[in-house]
């Protein structure tokens, strides 16, 4: 497998507050990448910068060999880098069906719309039952499914999931885990931020511990790691 995303010396933040300090990482070499670490230490900020929602102050982001540091989110989506943001806010007044069509908005995704929709329905059959329901009235977990489903409609080449299991029931988590695995096996690598370490370990051979806005530890495949070690990493800071 080859590297699809490289982040080098990235510094970013909100206004005068810098959240990310000289952060470097890469994704794709060993398959999926997992990010973890305490709350509020910059994981989401990293993802937002990668997908162009936030402008980097310095450093570079390379996707598929091309520099995307200064590109607009639209251009980045057009390249197939798809980001599911944290907190499933989505489009509260649109129906699930509408969200799916929006997911396929970019010209890249449009030809695959029908095929992707089938895929999505297979992964989340529950959504098909509620095709016309407004997102606003969905339960928390259902909304999470719609978020991920919308991203899948965008025909991703790299899929970034920010806390995808938030509020999901255990069984759905399982199914989600299985289906994302399937997606990644289908050639779409993932970057996943997750608090549920079991989930992360199951999915990602390569892990980064993000702390204080920078990568503190990288865990490569083969470096088997104990659950308790991770816990101590959390508590250590």
């Amino acid at each position: 497998m080859s590297v699809i995303l490289t982040v080098e010396g990235l510094t970013a933040g909100y206004g005068r507050v810098t959240v990310l300090h000289d952060l470097s990482m890469e994704a794709g070499r060993f398959g999926n990448v997992g990010l973890f670490g305490p709350n509020g230490h910059g994981k989401s900020t990293l993802l937002r910068t990668v997908s162009g929602l936030l402008k980097a102050k310095s450093g570079s982001i390379t996707f598929d060999g091309e520099d995307i540091t200064r590109e607009s989110p639209r251009a980045i989506v057009g390249r197939g880098l798809i980001h599911v943001p944290q907190g499933n806010r989505l489009f509260p007044d649109l129906s699930i069906a509408d969200c799916m069509s929006l997911g396929a908005f970019s010209p890249r995704a449009r030809p695959h719309e029908a095929e992707n929709r089938e895929k999505v329905v297979k992964i989340f059959p529950k959504l098909a039952e509620r095709w016309r329901q407004r997102v606003r009235t969905l339960s928390g977990g259902e909304r999470q499914m719609v978020s991920i489903a919308t991203a899948l409609m965008s025909h991703p080449r790299l899929l970034i999931l920010d806390e995808p299991t938030l509020g999901l029931a255990p069984k759905i988590k399982d199914e989600l885990c299985a289906s994302v695995q399937e997606i990644s096996k289908g050639g779409v690598p993932l970057i996943v931020v997750e608090q549920d370490i079991e989930f992360l370990l199951e999915l990602c051979p390569q892990l980064y511990l993000v702390n204080h806005g920078t990568v503190e530890t990288e865990i490569k495949p083969g470096q088997s790691i104990e659950h308790s070690e991770i816990m101590s990493m959390y508590f250590g800071h």
Partner: protein, 245 residues
């Protein structure tokens, strides 16, 4: 007599029966867990019990033997039934202390102003928000602090029953540990707790009774260990991911 009794409560949205004839009882002092697949009606159940934003279509809810369904949300709250919301919410334009004052001042009738302030401060200390600073605007807090603040406003009401909707979602492991301790101590204050949670370790380590909903109906209820061993629960809710009990 049970402190909170829910009898045959239902709520439908159009043709969708979100809650469909649910009954259960919660004894004073216990922690009562509620689980179930996404969209099984857990949050809706909380909604109809508390009357926020709507009451049940039918069925009865009794708090300490008194029927409360049909009363308005703030009345029910003042009778001693507090709740938190699935998303962390706060009064963003108010300071941390003022947030707590809302619970302390309006959640329990007949308090003197000095007592209100004491209660508010005490509740904030209890959840450990002293370090954050009472003067900070709630809108600026981190996720975990907001969750704590939401809990503090509820505790400041000194409710008889507290309904917690997914207090652990989006928390890190250490934060979950902290939360577990916090909820235990809340129960020790004599507040009866009903708890919705998907984080199973959290749910299992806290609840004395567990009820699992599915498609708006009670799928199983009873001793937590027995409930999660129930085939139907595994099938509908747990899948392969049983907690390391």
């Amino acid at each position: 007599m049970a402190l909170l009794e829910v009898e045959d409560v239902s709520k439908a949205f159009g043709s969708l029966k979100a809650v469909d004839g649910v009954s259960f009882k919660v004894e004073a002092g216990e922690i009562f867990g509620v689980a179930g697949p996404n969209g099984s009606g857990k949050s809706t159940l909380f909604n109809v019990i508390t009357g926020i934003p709507f009451g049940p279509d039918r069925g009865r809810v009794k708090l300490g033997g008194v029927e409360i369904q049909g009363k308005s949300g703030n009345e029910i709250a003042r009778l001693g039934l507090a709740r938190t919301f699935q998303r962390e919410t706060s009064f963003d334009g108010l300071t941390v202390f003022e947030n707590a004052l809302m619970g302390a001042g309006y959640g329990k009738p007949g308090r003197a102003e000095s007592e209100v302030r004491e209660r508010a401060a005490e509740a904030l200390e209890f959840v450990g928000l002293t370090s954050v600073g009472f003067g900070r605007l709630a809108g600026e807090l981190s996720v975990f602090d907001r969750k704590c603040l939401m809990l503090a406003t509820a505790i400041a009401m000194e409710p008889r029953v507290l309904l917690l909707d997914e207090p652990a979602s989006s928390l890190t492991k250490p934060e979950i540990e902290t939360s577990i301790g916090l909820i235990r101590r809340t129960a020790e204050r004599g507040i009866t707790i009903v708890l919705i949670e998907h984080v199973l370790t959290f749910l299992m380590s806290l609840s004395q009774h567990l009820m699992v909903l599915n498609q708006g109906r009670v799928l199983a209820a009873g001793e937590p260990k027995t409930v999660i061993a129930d085939e139907r629960v595994v099938e509908a809710y747990l899948g392969t991911r049983r907690p390391a009990a």
